[in-house]
C-alpha cells in the first residue's frame, strides 16, 4: 500500500537521457527518457501490446518504440504506430505520468493526474544554489520506505550506528521537540555545549564546544529534509555552519526503496579536499544505515503479526509520522 497522490523522486537528472531507463516506483514500472528538446518523459514501462517493457526498446524522435513488435508510443502514451497494420487498436496506449525536473532531481506524480500540483514539489534549492556545495549519493535499500522515515526522524541511532562519523553518546541524552503541522512532522534536537561531529569537525576547522542541532522535517510520503549544523554557544542557528540533508525516499515495493541523498553545506565551500572527504564519509554513513535497515527489514519480516514496536519518548516523531501516513493512506482508499 502506497500513498500515490504524491511527488516522488524518480531519478537524478543526469540519469535520464536519450537511452530509456527503467524504474519501479510504488510497484509501478516506469520508463524515463528525454525528448530531443531535453524534456523528461515518464511512461508506464509495459507495452500495451503484450506487456513487454518499453525500456529495452529505442527512441524514435520523441517517441519510444517497443523492442518486441515495434508498437510506438508518443510522450503522452498514445500509440502512434503499429508496424504490422495500419489500424491502431483503441486500447493501445500506456499511462503517462506528470514529471517535474528541479535542482538535479526528476520528480514523478504517481497518482491521479488531475490532482498533480507542481507547487507541491518540495523545496530543494540548496542543490543548485551557488552559496552551497552539495555531495550526492543514491542507493537502493532492501527495506520498506517507512523504515527510512523512522530512521531520519529518530537520530538517536547516530550514537550507535554512526560512531566514527556523526555519532556521539550525547545525542540520545538530549530530548526532542516534535511539531506536527497538518501532514508535516518535524523532530528537533538542540545539543548545547558539545563537540562537533567527527566527520565535519576538520572541514569546519573547529575544536572546543559548540551548540549542535538537527531538525528532521518529514514531508510525507516521500521527502525528508534535515536541517543541521553547529553554532558558537548561545548564537542563533542561522549564524552557524549549516547543513541541509535532502532525502528523497521512493518506495519500489513493499520491501525495497530508493534512497536519493544530497548533502549541502554552506561552509568550506571552496575546500575541495573537504568535499572529497565528505563524499567518502557520507557514503559510509549511508552504507551504515543501509546495512542496519536491511537487517531491521529481515527482523520485521519474521516478526509475528501481533507483536508491535515498544515505542519510547524519543520515538515521538516516529509515532506522529506513522499516524500521518495512516491518515493519508486511509484517505486514498476512500
Amino acid at each position: 500500500m502506497y500513498v500515490l497522490n504524491a511527488w516522488y523522486v524518480a531519478a537524478w537528472s543526469t540519469e535520464v537521457n536519450r537511452e530509456p531507463a527503467r524504474r519501479v516506483i510504488c510497484e509501478i514500472p516506469v520508463v524515463l527518457y528525454r525528448t530531443q528538446a531535453g524534456a523528461a518523459v515518464a511512461l508506464e514501462d509495459r507495452c500495451a501490446h503484450r506487456g513487454y517493457p518499453l525500456s529495452p526498446g529505442r527512441l524514435v524522435g520523441d517517441d519510444i518504440e517497443c523492442g518486441y513488435h515495434g508498437f510506438t508510443f508518443d510522450c503522452s502514451g498514445a500509440c502512434v504506430r503499429v508496424p504490422a497494420q495500419d489500424i491502431i487498436p483503441k486500447q493501445a496506449f500506456v499511462r503517462s505520468f506528470p514529471v517535474v525536473e528541479k535542482d538535479g532531481w526528476i520528480w514523478i506524480w504517481t497518482g491521479q493526474k488531475e490532482l498533480a500540483d507542481v507547487s507541491k514539489v518540495p523545496d530543494t534549492h540548496w542543490m543548485s544554489d551557488p552559496e552551497w556545495v552539495t555531495v550526492t549519493h543514491s542507493m537502493p535499500f532492501a527495506c520498506r520506505a517507512e523504515l527510512i522515515h523512522d530512521n531520519l526522524l529518530d537520530l538517536t541511532h547516530e550514537s550507535f550506528i554512526h560512531t566514527s562519523t556523526v555519532g556521539d553518546d550525547y545525542i540520545y541524552k538530549h530530548g526532542i521537540t516534535v511539531e506536527v503541522d497538518g501532514d508535516v512532522v518535524s523532530a528537533d534536537r538542540l545539543m548545547p555545549g558539545v563537540v562537533a561531529p567527527p566527520l565535519y569537525a576538520r572541514t569546519m576547522a573547529t575544536d572546543g564546544l559548540y551548540d549542535r542541532f538537527h531538525c528532521t522535517v518529514f514531508y510525507p510520503p516521500g521527502y525528508l529534509l534535515l536541517h543541521s549544523g553547529i553554532t558558537e554557544q548561545g548564537k542563533p542557528r542561522e549564524e552557524g555552519y549549516l547543513i541541509k540533508v535532502l532525502n528523497g525516499i521512493t518506495p519500489i515495493d513493499a520491501h525495497n526503496s530508493w534512497y536519493y541523498y544530497a548533502f549541502s553545506r554552506n561552509f568550506g565551500t571552496d575546500q575541495h579536499w573537504a568535499t572529497e572527504e565528505l563524499i567518502t564519509g557520507l557514503a559510509t554513513v549511508l552504507e551504515e544505515d543501509k546495512a542496519a535497515l536491511e537487517w531491521q527489514e529481515i527482523g520485521l519480516q519474521s516478526r509475528p503479526y501481533d507483536v508491535r514496536d515498544s515505542l519510547i519518548a524519543q520515538d515521538a516523531g516516529v509515532a506522529k509520522a506513522r499516524k500521518v501516513m495512516e491518515r493519508l493512506l486511509a484517505a486514498e482508499k476512500q
Binding site: 530530548g175 521537540t177 506536527v180 515505542l311 519510547i312 519518548a313 520515538d315 515521538a316 509515532a319 506522529k320
Partner: protein, 141 residues
C-alpha cells in the same frame, strides 16, 4: 518529548462531536490498556477541550489560565501537561503558538514553563495529568 501540534482541530477530520485526539495514552493504537485521552474540537470559532480518563488510574486537573503578561509554572517530572491556546498568540521557549495550537510536556521536557502573551491578553486551557501509581504520565507509552 515536547510536542507541538499546530491547530490540529482545523486540519484533522475527526468526529466533530468528540473532536481530534491531541494526546493520549496509549498513543499507539491497540496496545496497552487505555488510560486517558485529550480531544480538541472547534465549534463556532471556539476551542473545546474534552478529557477522558480511566478514573481508577489517572487524575486530571483542568484550568483556564488568563495571561496578562506571562504565565510561569513548574511541572513535576511525573506530570504531563497540555496547553491549548484559546484566543491570542503566545510564545514559549522560542516557539510561537497560535490559537488552536497545542503544546504537550512530559518527562525530561522543560519543567519550568514560561508562556508569554504576544500582544493582547491571551488565555490557555491547561490540562495536568498524573498517574495514581506515582509513575510518570506519558503520551507515547
Amino acid at each position: 518529548m515536547q510536542l507541538i501540534l499546530r491547530q490540529p482541530a482545523a486540519v484533522d477530520t475527526g468526529d466533530e462531536s468528540t473532536g481530534v485526539v491531541v494526546a493520549a495514552s496509549p498513543d499507539t493504537f491497540g496496545r496497552e490498556q487505555w488510560q486517558w485521552d485529550v480531544r480538541l474540537a472547534e465549534s463556532a470559532g471556539r476551542y473545546v477541550v474534552t478529557v477522558s480518563r480511566n478514573a481508577k488510574t489517572i487524575d486530571v486537573i483542568e484550568e483556564r489560565i488568563d495571561i496578562a503578561n506571562a504565565y510561569e509554572a513548574t511541572r513535576s517530572v511525573n506530570e504531563l501537561w497540555l496547553a491549548v491556546v484559546l484566543d491570542h498568540p503566545v510564545t514559549h521557549g522560542g516557539f510561537l503558538l497560535e490559537p488552536g495550537d497545542v503544546a504537550v510536556w512530559e518527562g525530561d521536557d522543560p519543567t519550568s514553563l514560561s508562556i508569554r502573551a504576544v500582544a493582547n491578553n491571551a488565555s490557555l486551557h491547561v490540562v495536568r495529568i498524573t498517574r495514581r501509581d506515582g509513575k510518570a504520565a506519558r503520551w507515547v507509552p
